[in-house]
């Protein structure tokens, strides 16, 4: 919303391109320059894992923060992406015509026909890009058309995650059951035991994540982005403007699913395993923590939140396993109840305190040099009004 305001109050089309380019440059320096330089291979791989989780978060930010759809079942799409990639790696490791080990151990020793196409890297990548989005689109059309929304949709998507995990476990012969798929040796032919190639995976994850953020940024500022917010806040009103809100929501839901799928597909080689434990109800809710904490409706909030939470979890749970559970619970409670727009809203508050007009959250304060009084009165009033509105919304 504040981003939307920003676009309208400033000569957006000139500045935003610069801003996007600047943002990408900063992110690239941090992710491609600083992080690899200061982190050990182990920590870098860990960061790669967090980036994969952040991809899911970016999608959730779009669907939930901007679209108002509380997606409690993103684990499903994460899992589909992950299993597709994992299966491809298992088949590739087995060699042409070979049978992956788990199919021999738990299954009938043959590759089921519907796994066969995944021997091809092209088919695999296409499937990863298309299947999660396609399934989300179909499901979304089914439920959104019938105006299943709000809590109903949230609970349904959660049940979907539960059912998906049970299905994966139950079909052990072809999915590896609770053990999931693991022990990958190569990623599109590149040896995964080689630290250099692991590093490469990190760069891919970082690049993909940046690309996703850029895509979401463009979407947020497009007419579609405005419409999505409109649907979130007044779905029926949008219907009476001649739109079918179902279609509007489906697009965001499918994009979120696609991002989750890609996140899962990279997660598998980065972590070396994908299992039902990564896709069920609990991990699906877990994806939301970072988004809520970072600021669900902002561009970078979900990304930073997801990375920060994962990092904290790894660090804190080492020393205080039971404390971590309390901490996680408390984070949920405090942030959602008292800081619904996440930590991103703290930044806005802080800027307001200092009398600087609030702007888009991804806008560095320095790019907005206008001091109070330097602009025409009307504009100033407008800014104050916008600020108050936002505050009112936040404390609602």
């Amino acid at each position: 919303m504040s981003a939307a305001t920003g676009t309208a109050t400033t000569p957006w089309w000139q500045r935003s391109t610069v801003r996007v380019a600047g943002g990408v440059a900063v992110a690239a320096v941090v992710l491609f320059g600083i992080a690899p330089a200061v982190l050990s291979d182990f920590r870098l791989n860990l960061l790669a894992k967090f980036l994969c989780l952040a991809m899911v978060a970016v999608g959730i930010g779009l669907a939930w923060g901007r679209g108002g759809m509380l997606v409690l079942g993103q684990g499903v799409f994460f899992g589909i992406g992950g299993y597709l990639m994992a299966m491809h790696m298992k088949l590739a490791d087995a060699g042409p015509g070979g049978v992956p080990d788990f199919l021999r151990l738990y299954g009938d020793g043959v590759v089921p026909g519907w796994w066969e196409p995944l021997r091809s890297p092209v088919v695999t990548v296409l499937a990863i890009l298309v299947l999660p989005a396609g399934i989300a689109a179909l499901l979304g059309l089914a439920v959104f058309r019938r105006r299943v929304r709000g809590a109903y949709f949230a609970i349904l998507s959660q049940a979907l995650a539960a059912a998906f995990a049970i299905l994966l476990v139950g079909q052990q012969k072809v999915t590896g059951g609770t053990n999931g798929l693991n022990g990958f040796r190569s990623f599109f032919g590149y040896d995964l035991a080689d630290p250099i190639n692991k590093r490469m995976l990190y760069f891919i994850a970082a690049g993909v994540l940046i690309a996703m953020v850029v895509v979401v940024r463009l979407l947020m500022n497009s007419r579609y982005g405005e419409l999505l917010v409109a649907v979130r806040d007044q779905e029926n009103r949008v219907r009476f403007l001649g739109y079918d809100p179902a279609n509007v929501k489906v697009v965001a839901y499918a994009i979120a699913a696609c991002f989750a799928g890609i996140g899962g597909a990279l997660f598998a080689p980065v972590v070396g395993i994908i299992s039902p434990a990564d896709v069920g109800v609990i991990p699906s809710i877990g994806f939301l923590v970072g988004v809520a904490i970072g600021g669900r409706a902002t561009l970078l909030g979900p990304v930073l939140g997801a990375v920060a939470v994962s990092w904290a979890e790894t660090g804190l749970s080492e020393q205080f396993p039971s404390f971590w559970t309390y901490f996680q619970g408390a984070l949920f409670i405090l942030v959602v109840a008292f800081l619904p727009q996440g930590f991103a809203s703290l930044g806005t508050l802080w800027r307001r305190r200092r009398g600087t007009p609030a702007d888009a959250p991804d806008d560095p304060p320095t790019t907005h040099p206008s001091a109070p009084g330097s602009s025409p009165d009307a504009d100033d009033d407008a800014q104050h009004a916008a600020d108050s509105a936002r505050t009112a919304g936040r404390h609602a």
Partner: protein
């Protein structure tokens, strides 16, 4: 969140912006009159039943182009339900035709695309979007995916004109949530205009407006009504007397009386309904207004 901003104090005083600008209206509705010639709303035997409760019971209603029709009646008479039924929000049986197109059974967004626009009792604009964005969305139902996925580079002329018409040019970059109540109502009307609705269904459009704003709104509606088909659900009798060209009185889901303001006011059945049930409830204005017009103004 959005509800909260709605109930909060308006940040911008209504007088900070210009009033309505009827001149600019021409730019929006100056379409050839021929476009609207065959537009009329024809409702036949409309019935709406909720879980056994008959809310609308066999209503016939015809509103022609150029008419400014007011729907009145005591609480529970079925006024809003009829509007809901026309726009696909309530389960309807019977026939509702506009411009020769059958609307019953269509999903809401298709009904809207057939040229029907409506507002709601509580102003429902998109609080977090700016005035401009609100209007832009209203104007854009027919846009292709490619246009949708790009940002807005220029303000569409019909949006520009609508801004002028409803006097919100000055505040076009403010979030709609901070507008005063009356301004929100105008914004809604503006949205109907850019949406190019040929049948406008307005549910209590002047509730919460000052006397001057009502005047302006009434004039605006009259001008729109010259070309398009307009149905207004309203309790404000003074407003009704000033601007209605015809009135339909509903009672318990049925049409009680129909005609000009004078005809309806003289109808003994109407007087009886309003006096009989009428010491309470919002319908009291009809009878009372005959004696004491000034007392009839109600604020939602």
């Amino acid at each position: 969140m959005s509800e909260q901003t709605g109930t909060g104090e308006p940040v911008v005083p209504p007088d900070a912006t210009g009033g309505l600008d009827p001149e600019a209206l021409e730019a929006v509705i100056a379409a050839p009159g021929a476009r609207f010639r065959h537009d009329y709303l024809e409702i036949r035997d409309l019935r709406v039943v909720f879980d056994g409760f008959v809310a609308v019971d066999g209503v016939d209603l015809t509103v022609t182009q150029g008419d400014l029709r007011f729907l009145i009646g005591p609480n529970g008479a079925g006024k809003t339900t009829i509007v809901d039924a026309i726009t696909g929000l309530a389960p309807a049986a019977g026939s509702v035709q506009f411009g020769g197109v059958e609307l019953v059974g269509k999903p809401s967004h298709k009904i809207v695309r057939a040229g029907v626009g409506r507002t709601f009792q509580t102003a429902s604009v998109f609080d977090e979007l700016t005035v401009l964005q609100n209007l832009d969305i209203a104007a854009g139902a027919g846009r292709g995916p490619w246009t949708m996925l790009r940002r807005r580079h220029v303000v569409p002329p019909e949006v520009e004109a609508a801004l002028e018409t409803v006097g919100l040019t000055q505040v076009r970059d403010l979030p709609a949530g901070v507008l005063a109540h009356g301004q929100k109502q105008w914004l809604e009307i503006g949205m109907l205009l850019v949406q190019d609705a040929r049948l406008l269904l307005l549910d209590e459009p002047v509730a919460g407006m000052s006397q001057a704003e009502r005047e302006e709104t009434g004039l605006l509606l009259q001008r729109i009504g010259e070309q398009r088909t307009v149905v207004v659900v309203e309790h404000d009798m003074e407003f009704l007397r000033a601007f209605a060209s015809s009135v339909t009185v509903l009672h318990q889901g049925r049409v009680l009386s129909e005609g000009t303001v004078a005809q309806v006011q003289a109808d003994p059945r109407v007087v009886e309904v309003y006096l009989g049930s009428g010491a309470h409830g919002r319908g009291r204005g009809m009878a009372a207004s005959a004696a004491e017009p000034a007392a009839s103004t109600e604020v939602e």
